[in-house]
């Protein structure tokens, strides 16, 4: 069985490394050669919208999935004529547009922050009046890791925010005064079986995930997050892994965004859960039974951003797991991650704090 993957980044790379032991083959499609996944699996090279490449991918693969959720709808449609796509294109479409995503959350009874579409400076002024300050102006599409966002704290910020982002369709969001951020990762099999990983507590810096600790023990928060992710999985007859990020506030959780794919906050599952998110995604889309999502100990996962630290020095630490994605260094780029698994949450927290200090 051959799994096709649109996008050949680190998520695809880790899918392939998890899928090979299951006896599966992989074929990627990406614009460039030498991508993280191309280093470990064959890849078709060219545009995501090249009909000939899409037809070849469909013909050679039993199912096609994504490493990157922003694959154009036209590409998915073309692929869908020739093969099975998982997760379902409708879920990808919803996740591609922040406004649709928020509408989906509301439709499914999942609490989220207030938003309003912004297509003109007047819209923005109206949205700021209706929702209040502070708030965030965001592009509806293609934002990630804090890109495509402008924070508005005062009315005087409206002009600059509009000037920075006003060429694309936008939305204005209420800025949430949250205690902390969490994410939940669920997976649904081809037969409807659902499994959910323990809750992740996430720390972002400059809009990029720095640290995830899991399982995060917050029973009420976890129960709500679990309920919400199951609801989204069922709503789409979803197949594969789905992630939802939440703000935790005094009043409960508020859904921030969803990712219709394996997620950075789930990288700890490679060593820290019985079955990794990557293996479970591949199991799900291949029609195999899901694996146990139970945690093995207490994990901390730290992203390696911009440049890799001294590998040998860090590998000398007992039980430190190193994940290099094979990318060239660049400011703000995720190049790899580290995971440590400890017997207690306190020990994992101490190691995470020491590693955060060390990584700077």
């Amino acid at each position: 069985m051959t799994i096709g993957v649109l996008g050949a980044g680190q998520l695809g790379r880790m899918m392939a490394l998890a899928g090979y032991p299951l006896g599966l083959d992989f074929l990627f499609l990406d614009r460039e050669a030498g991508t993280p996944a191309h280093q470990v699996a064959p890849s078709l090279l060219g545009s995501f919208t090249d009909p000939a490449l899409l037809d070849e991918l469909a013909a050679r693969c039993d199912v096609v999935t994504v490493d990157w959720e922003n694959v154009p709808a036209a590409a998915l449609e073309r692929l869908g004529a020739g093969t099975r796509i998982a997760p379902p294109p409708a879920a990808l479409a919803a996740a591609q547009d922040r406004l649709e995503e928020k509408a989906l959350f509301r439709r499914l009874g999942i609490p989220t922050n207030r938003t309003q579409p912004v297509d003109s400076l007047a819209d923005l002024e109206a949205a700021v009046s209706a929702i209040g300050l502070p708030g965030v102006l965001k592009t509806r599409r293609l934002g990630y890791d804090g890109k495509g966002q402008a924070v508005l704290r005062r009315k005087a910020d409206i002009g600059a925010a509009w000037d920075a982002l006003g060429t694309a369709p936008l939305l204005y969001e209420q800025m949430i005064d949250f205690d902390y951020e969490v994410s939940i990762i669920g997976v649904r099999g081809l037969n409807g079986q659902i499994a959910v990983y323990p809750l992740n507590r996430n720390l972002h810096r400059d809009g990029i995930l720095r640290l995830t600790r899991a399982p995060w023990r917050a029973p009420k928060v976890e129960a709500a997050a679990q309920r919400h992710v199951r609801r989204v999985l069922r709503a789409f007859d979803y197949v594969g892994v789905l992630t939802i990020e939440f703000f935790v506030t005094k009043g409960g959780v508020l859904a921030n965004e969803m990712a219709p794919r394996v997620h950075n906050s789930g990288h700890w599952t490679i060593e820290g859960a019985v079955t990794s998110q990557f293996e479970n995604h591949i199991r799900a889309i291949s029609g195999l039974p899901l694996g146990a999502t139970v945690a093995r100990g207490h994990s901390a996962m730290l992203n390696l951003i911009g440049r890799l630290p001294d590998r040998a020095a860090l590998l000398a630490q007992p039980g430190l797991h190193w994940h290099d994605y094979g990318k060239s260094p660049r400011e703000g780029r995720k190049l790899g991650h580290l995971t440590v698994v400890e017997a207690t949450a306190a020990a994992a927290d101490r190691r995470a704090a020491a590693l955060l200090r060390r990584l700077g």
Copy 2:
């Protein structure tokens, strides 16, 4: 850094899958295309003795290791002129010849069974007289998984055994009345650091490993095995993973054979130890610090031989890890393995027994 590997079987495949997250590249050399390792990494195709291929491998790799210990000495010599080889060729040479191997054990004070070289029918008769019956006539070179062996129970078996094997250099070994079989896996880094995995208890059937349970709690046996493997590692200034198999008898352990490589009885370490034998071998030969060899729970590893069982049915069992090597089915061929990790040895034993029954 690029790791070269002679032989592209399942051991090489699992090395590559463990080495990619460390940021390493791989290049294999094997006679055939489509091998287990070639499915996940590039491979040069041709003979192990082709000087041009060996020179290319040496030129493209920072270090060369083996998936198969019977690489001809001439190939290692040629390679050694152009790159670093790990483990050291002297250890490979000793492991290639059962008689040298036994001599090594005796030289290092490691108890082993009695052996005598056999190059003629008269030698065999003399060996049987000296060592007694029952015994095993074995080829000195190239035997594995029970191949190249004949058991002698009575004097009348001498003729048939000689007829079956008499074309190659042989040795006659005392057959040991053992309680059970164990193996120990040690690893030595480029800087001399040594780490040893917990003891494995192994069950063979028809000369092929069927089941490994680890950690096997037998403190005296483990202490002796640890001492012996450390002695061999030091004797060769060894770099990489080394395995020694022992018979456990009333009088203590007797070394049966050594493998200068990662070993089938260490496959459980992928999920069952903090650092797998594959990762530690790659760390060692790359000059990286060794990872912790501590067990995570109690593991049972079962080989999948001849044909693969129903994957979906087995993956429905919680916590079952499936490893398919991507080989075509053939009688007696190792096609993959299963690992389960449980909180107690008793639970792991129960699952192992149930799985053994199921696999037949």
